[in-house]
Each structure stands twice: as structure tokens, then as C-alpha cells.
């Protein structure tokens, strides 16, 4: 007979194994442990609370259904994050992009916009408190198209390589590189503008 586990103290690996055997209490504990992270990732991509809640829930349901496929090659949190990222990308692709984003995409498609941006000569984040910097980054990220925001999130926060991002986003490595370049240059420019706004 399987030995009962203390859900509160058991490591993720044990909770995953118990969940794979059909133990829903173990799965509930996994949800409780990682729900904020999964929701935060969905929110960072969708920029909408309601959609982020729905998609994060959907990710947990999918995870339960696919638990047997989890082999432990990565941590459970990483595996879960990949599921929610894929769901967010599917949703974003389905949605019609807003006019502002279309303009931004058009800028990118016209080519070389980021090359014409003046190089920022002083560090726009220098001297900022971490909380203030976070607020500004968040505001600037909000102004990027979902493709540019997503490529930054996957590269900087999920530490994915170019080829992994290309696979997840279903595009070429070259597209990943140019999107990342544009996103960084635009972010630098936005941070500079925010700094000037603050100073004036």
C-alpha cells in the first residue's frame, strides 16, 4: 500500500508522483504552491487580470490531464510555466490585435525602425529603486506588442535560448533576434522617456 504523504511538507517531486497516481489532494497542494507564479506569467503576457485567471486555471486543468507525460526533465514549476505560456500564446494569436500594435508591427515590417532610434547614452534605470524600476519596466512593457513583449519575457525571465523561443512562438530564429532587438531598443527609449517625464 502506498505510504501516505504529508502534503504540506512533501517536496514537489513527491506531490507530482502522488498526483500522477490520481491523488487530487497532492495536486491541490501543487496548485497552492505555484498558483501565484503561474498567474503572474499569464498576467505578464496577457496584461489582463480576468484572462490571466482563466488561462492559469486552464493550464492547471491541462497539467492534470497531462501529468503522466511529465518525466521530471525540468522542475514542475518550469513545466507548468511552459503550459501556461503556450496557452497564452494560443489565446494571443486568436485575438485580433489592437490598432496600436498593428502600427508597431507595421513599423517593424517596414524594417530598420530600431536602427534609426538614437542610442541612449546614459543608463535610464540608474539610481532607481527596485520597486520604481519595476513599475517603469511594467509600464514600458505594456506599450510593446505581444510578440515583442513575449520574446522579452521568454528570453529574460524564462531564460530561453533563441531556438527555444522560435519553437514556442512558431517563427524563425532570425525573427526572434530582430523582435528581441526591436523590443530592447524600444524599451530603452520608453525608459528614457519615463525618466524625462519624472524629471520635468
Amino acid at each position: 500500500m502506498a505510504k501516505a504523504i504529508d502534503h504540506k511538507t512533501a517536496p514537489d517531486v513527491k506531490l507530482v508522483a502522488a498526483s500522477q497516481a490520481g491523488n487530487m489532494q497532492a495536486f491541490e497542494e501543487l496548485v497552492a504552491r505555484h498558483r501565484d507564479k503561474i498567474y503572474a506569467r499569464a498576467f505578464s503576457m496577457m496584461r489582463n487580470e480576468e484572462e490571466a485567471i482563466d488561462l492559469s486555471q486552464e493550464a492547471w486543468v491541462k497539467a492534470w490531464q497531462r501529468l503522466k507525460q511529465f518525466q521530471g526533465d525540468s522542475s514542475f514549476a518550469t513545466w507548468m510555466t511552459r503550459i501556461v505560456i503556450n496557452l497564452c500564446l494560443d489565446q494571443l494569436r486568436r485575438q485580433k490585435r489592437t490598432r496600436a500594435e498593428s502600427i508597431e508591427q507595421l513599423d517593424e515590417e517596414l524594417g530598420g525602425v530600431e536602427r534609426q532610434m538614437p542610442i541612449i547614452a546614459t543608463n535610464p534605470s540608474q539610481g532607481l529603486e527596485r520597486s520604481e524600476l519595476r513599475k517603469r519596466i511594467d509600464k514600458a512593457m505594456n506599450q510593446l506588442s505581444y510578440e515583442h513583449r513575449t520574446v522579452l519575457i521568454l528570453h529574460e525571465f524564462e531564460e530561453m535560448e533563441y531556438k527555444q523561443i522560435a519553437k514556442v512562438m512558431n517563427c524563425s530564429i532570425g525573427t526572434v533576434m530582430s523582435r528581441l532587438f526591436y523590443a530592447r531598443r524600444r524599451l530603452a527609449s520608453l525608459l528614457q522617456s519615463l525618466k524625462k517625464e519624472q524629471q520635468s
Binding site: A40, E49, I119, R134, D138
Partner: protein, 166 residues
Amino acid sequence: MSTELKLQARLDGELDAREAREIDALVEQNAQQAALMQELSWTKAAIAAGDVEVALPETREFYWSKIARAIEAEERKAATAAPAERSGWLKFFYPATGLAAMAAVMFVISGSRSNDGVDTESVPEDMNAVSFRSEAEKMSVVYVADEYGSFSPVGQEVKNEPEADK
């Protein structure tokens, strides 16, 4: 790949050793490229400190209850879909079964029609079909079961009144 994208790839550790050395040399010699490299580095460092930190705006119990309900609903759906999938190959036999049932029922009707004026029902053995005949309406209806055991009419025969009755 353009020089700008190579600068970025250098920053992200995506270049091999030879290409990395070439870019380092370029940055040393070219002030413009050096400035761009610096800007990219600042931005990268700033973003690293800026991941969203938000907590789920729902209680543990409420959030879990919705997930648990959704899992149960999905499992119920899967459970009802499974038998249908297993017996999917049987679907190919339903049209033939229906036709056979109709033919058999017609045979039964024509061979043993009741003449006493009451409605009759005939259920041929070993056949997933039911027939109904109304003498009053001069009509026969054949019902054949689908894969779920639900009966639906597949054909009907309306008999004209005998010449003598007109």
C-alpha cells in the same frame, strides 16, 4: 546576420568563440557599436530586475474549487466519449443493420398482417429494431437503435386502403 544582431547575440551568449572575438574587437574599435552594446546591456540588466510580481487575486479555496470542477467536467466528458470511441467501428454497420431491419420488418408485416383492426407491434428477435403498425392509420414504422441504444424511425410504409373498402 547584421552587425547589430550579432552584438545582441554576443550579449546573449549565442555566438561561438570565434564570432564572439570578432564582435569584441569591433566594439573596441567602433564607438557607435560600443554605445549600442552598452545600451543593450543596460536594458537587459533593467529588465532582469523588472519581472511582474503579482499575486493571484482569489483565495486558495475558490481558485481550487474552479479547477477541481473543471477537471471533473473534463473527466465526465472523457468518460462518456470513450465508449463511443470504442464502438466507433460499429457505426459502419448501422446503415446495413437498419436496412436489414427494415427488410425483415416489411417481411414480417406482409406475412403476418393482423386483420382484426388493432395496432400491432413486432420486435424481431436478434435485431436491434422495433416496428410499429397501425391498422387504423394503415401505416408501419420501423425504429432502429443507434449505438447508444436510442431508437429512431428509419422508414415507414403507408398502405393504401384496399379497393373494396373505397
